[in-house]
């Protein structure tokens, strides 16, 4: 086994898991300037849903993924339309408060629904891996990376070339002008939050496949999404991919060079540095 080759691969694959979890967070932040503190709990809820479908109906998570995406899309759409839109224009931080409350509610609901037990989505291939030239490639992590790349491309195509996508981008750039152009802002926001919720669900299923989870696991996921989004840069479809890879590689290499106990020092130290030197992230637009 090549030590460094394997460690680099580990970092890249962890980057996929981190990135796919941040995709939704980045989208919601970029378009609506909304920081969704319940993001992690959304993901955990999706993992529970996939697990329930697997255990009770025997549907493989990858088969149920489209269904889960749609369910979360619908739920997110309605949540934004009925609740979040009521405060989103009032003040930046009211949405923070609202999603903070939502996080409490979701986390506690999951305890009531699924108990506090640790779960993981344990399919036959969950711990399998491919061997390639002396390097181990865990299947689920590899798929997470592939999904992240594909979803990033799809998201980019959607935002760049579809009519709806362009409306979303216009809204993100200049809300007032977009409204004057006849774009229905509440509908665009609902769509964005729905899309974000669907993407969060996809990330959540991957988290459930690659990690153990419990209702309380959402908080660290939200913080992780924060870090990845900033590292990659808010407001680009490729940000989560870039941020995920940077963070994954950094943690993998840093934890070997300095010892795993310094991983957080490195991660957050670097985050601070990036923010101070280039606050728009690696791929973000130049400072305004």
């Amino acid at each position: 086994m090549h030590l460094w080759g394997q460690i680099i691969v580990n970092g890249i694959l962890q980057g996929g898991v981190l990135g796919i979890s941040a995709l939704a967070f980045s989208l919601q932040w970029g378009v609506m300037d909304l920081i969704n503190l319940a993001h992690g709990s959304f993901q955990i809820l999706a993992a529970y849903l996939a697990l329930t479908l697997l255990n009770s109906l025997g549907i493989d998570p990858f088969l149920s993924l489209p269904l889960i995406f749609l369910l979360f899309f619908a739920a997110g759409y309605l949540l934004q339309l009925w609740i979040i839109n009521r405060v989103i224009s009032a003040n930046l931080f009211m949405t923070l408060l609202l999603t903070f409350g939502m996080d409490f509610v979701l986390a506690n609901l999951m305890i009531l629904l699924f108990s506090a037990d640790y779960k993981s989505i344990n399919t036959g291939y969950a711990n399998a891996s491919l061997h390639l030239a002396g390097i181990e490639l865990p299947v689920v992590r590899l798929l997470a990376l592939l999904f992240l790349i594909v979803l990033s491309v799809l998201l980019w195509l959607f935002l760049e070339y579809s009519r709806t996508g362009r409306a979303i981008r216009a809204t993100a750039m200049e809300r007032e002008s977009a409204r004057l152009m006849g774009i229905k802002i509440p509908a665009v926001y609902a769509l964005t939050f729905g899309l974000g919720s669907g993407l969060a669900a996809v990330g959540g299923v991957f988290f459930g496949l690659s990690n153990t989870f419990s209702p309380a696991a959402g908080g660290p996921l939200t913080v992780g999404a924060f870090v990845v989004t900033i590292l990659g840069g808010v407001g680009t479809s490729w940000g989560p991919l870039a941020g995920g890879l940077i963070l994954g590689l950094l943690e993998a290499v840093g934890s070997v060079v300095f010892g795993p106990t310094y991983v957080n020092v490195i991660t957050f130290g670097l985050l601070l540095l990036v923010l101070i030197i280039r606050p728009t992230g690696v791929l973000g637009r130049a400072a305004r």
């Binding site: 344990n122 711990n127 934890s255």
Partner: protein, 417 residues
């Protein structure tokens, strides 16, 4: 200027007064309820802040169930026999949301508003630290079940007791087992919290003094989700065994990633993790052969008057809660039982008398084993078992004679499973 207007300050006053009134009202309501219970004069009330929600909700529930089982069994037997009279046990639980801060206020609330004078602890060392300071300052005894941090007992407190041995002793039995199985090199990986650090330091010291070669030792931040690079490194060091001291998620993650990375060990052992039924459920057949440092198993040959044998305890537990008990639950039941013994010895539920009785219990024999209560409130002498996952179940493989149950050490490589 509208920054601070009279009207708003008035509103502020009114709202605060209303809320304080509500709080006081609620508290006194609780107190009334309990005094009416106590006025029946045949009930002993014991308080227990517990983690029903939050990050510790999982273990919190096990502890909660362990306490509850003792209450139910004792009450079914007609109550606790104290000085010839039977008293019903009434356990009062309050959710601390897994936060130590709340343990302080809840313990305070139960002592001063609800008039509760006997306590079982919340789960986890930091929470026990917090709750025990309140118990100490009110001079009411608290028995801890859910944290064996040595630091808890090094503070010179007089009202804190425990059913747990020190965290640093958890790994002794595991290493004894490995010693006899030709394991020479071990890798230690531990989380950065108090419990994990103490357990790891105890384990590493024991390993070095017992002829093991510690080829790798590292600390990772609690909640780490990717330890694959550490496993890659350990593989390079050719460690025979991996000993992980952290939390449940991390133990599961280490086994998952060891398989994914195709890192093979002759043995894998964890402090927290394998003993919980969720471990085998989460990992399926990949959990096979993994060792767990435990504090109790249903196979142990001990018994007492309340629960009967360890096996009978397990049956009772399963009947009540539908799952097999793990050591968290059993140790909680044992802590509750210690409280019962002390009350009986004291002949009353008076907190000072119960505390003195606890301090003077000496060596006790319960369904979880025989142990001695030390002057600082901790316990000594408990023989710690080791379990191994076999066919998805935790099987006792230590101490002797259970070592005949050991299977698959050295473990077959992942490719041969």
């Amino acid at each position: 200027m509208v920054r601070k207007s009279v009207k708003l300050t008035g509103l502020f006053m009114a709202v605060s007064l209303l809320l304080v009134a509500a709080l006081a009202g609620c508290g006194s309501q609780g107190a009334k309820q309990n005094t009416s219970n106590a006025s029946a004069a045949d009930t002993i009330t014991i308080g227990a802040p517990d983690a029903a929600t939050g990050a510790l909700a999982n273990e919190g529930k096990l502890v909660h169930d362990g306490y509850t089982l003792w209450q139910d069994v004792v009450n079914k037997q007609g109550g606790l026999l104290v000085g010839g009279k039977r008293y019903k046990i009434n356990l009062v639980f309050k959710d601390d949301q897994s936060k130590p801060d709340n343990d302080k206020s809840l313990t305070e609330q139960m002592i001063t508003q609800d008039g509760i004078k006997l306590f079982l602890s919340p789960y986890a060392s930091p929470n026990i630290f917090a709750a025990s300071t309140v118990a100490e300052s009110h001079k009411v005894p608290m028995i801890a079940a859910g944290g064996g941090a040595k630091k808890i007992f090094e503070r010179g407190y007089k009202y804190i007791f425990s059913s747990y041995p020190y965290s640093g002793e958890y790994l002794g039995s595991v290493l004894d087992l490995l010693k006899g199985r030709g394991i020479k090199t071990v890798a230690f990986l531990h989380a950065d919290d108090l419990f994990s650090q103490e357990a790891d330091q105890g384990g590493e010291a024991y390993a070095k003094s017992h002829g093991f070669d510690v080829v790798y030792s590292a600390q990772y931040p609690s909640g780490a989700t990717d330890l694959s690079s550490q496993l890659t490194q350990i593989a390079q060091k050719k460690a025979d065994a991996l000993i992980g001291t952290g939390h449940f998620e991390e133990a599961v993650q280490l086994v998952k990633q060891a398989k994914q990375m195709n890192v093979n060990f002759k043995a894998m052992a964890f402090t927290v993790g394998p003993t919980m039924p969720a471990f085998a459920q989460n990992l399926g057949k990949d959990a096979e052969g993994v060792l767990g440092a435990s504090l109790w198993t249903p196979d142990l040959p001990y018994k007492d008057d309340v629960f009967g044998t360890a096996a009978q305890y397990a049956a009772l537990y399963k009947q009540s809660f539908g799952t097999e008990p793990d050591y968290h639950a059993a140790m909680a039941s044992a802590a509750a039982e210690m409280m019962g013994l002390a009350i009986q010895k004291a002949g009353s539920a008076d907190p000072q008398k119960v505390r003195d009785a606890l301090a003077g219990l000496g060596t006790v024999h319960l369904f979880d084993g025989s142990f001695t209560i030390e002057p600082n409130g901790s316990i000594k002498g408990l023989v710690l078992p080791v379990i191994q996952i076999q066919n998805g179940k935790a099987v006792t493989v230590w101490p002797a004679p259970f070592d005949k149950n050991i299977k698959d050490i050295p473990l077959p490589p992942w490719s041969k499973r």
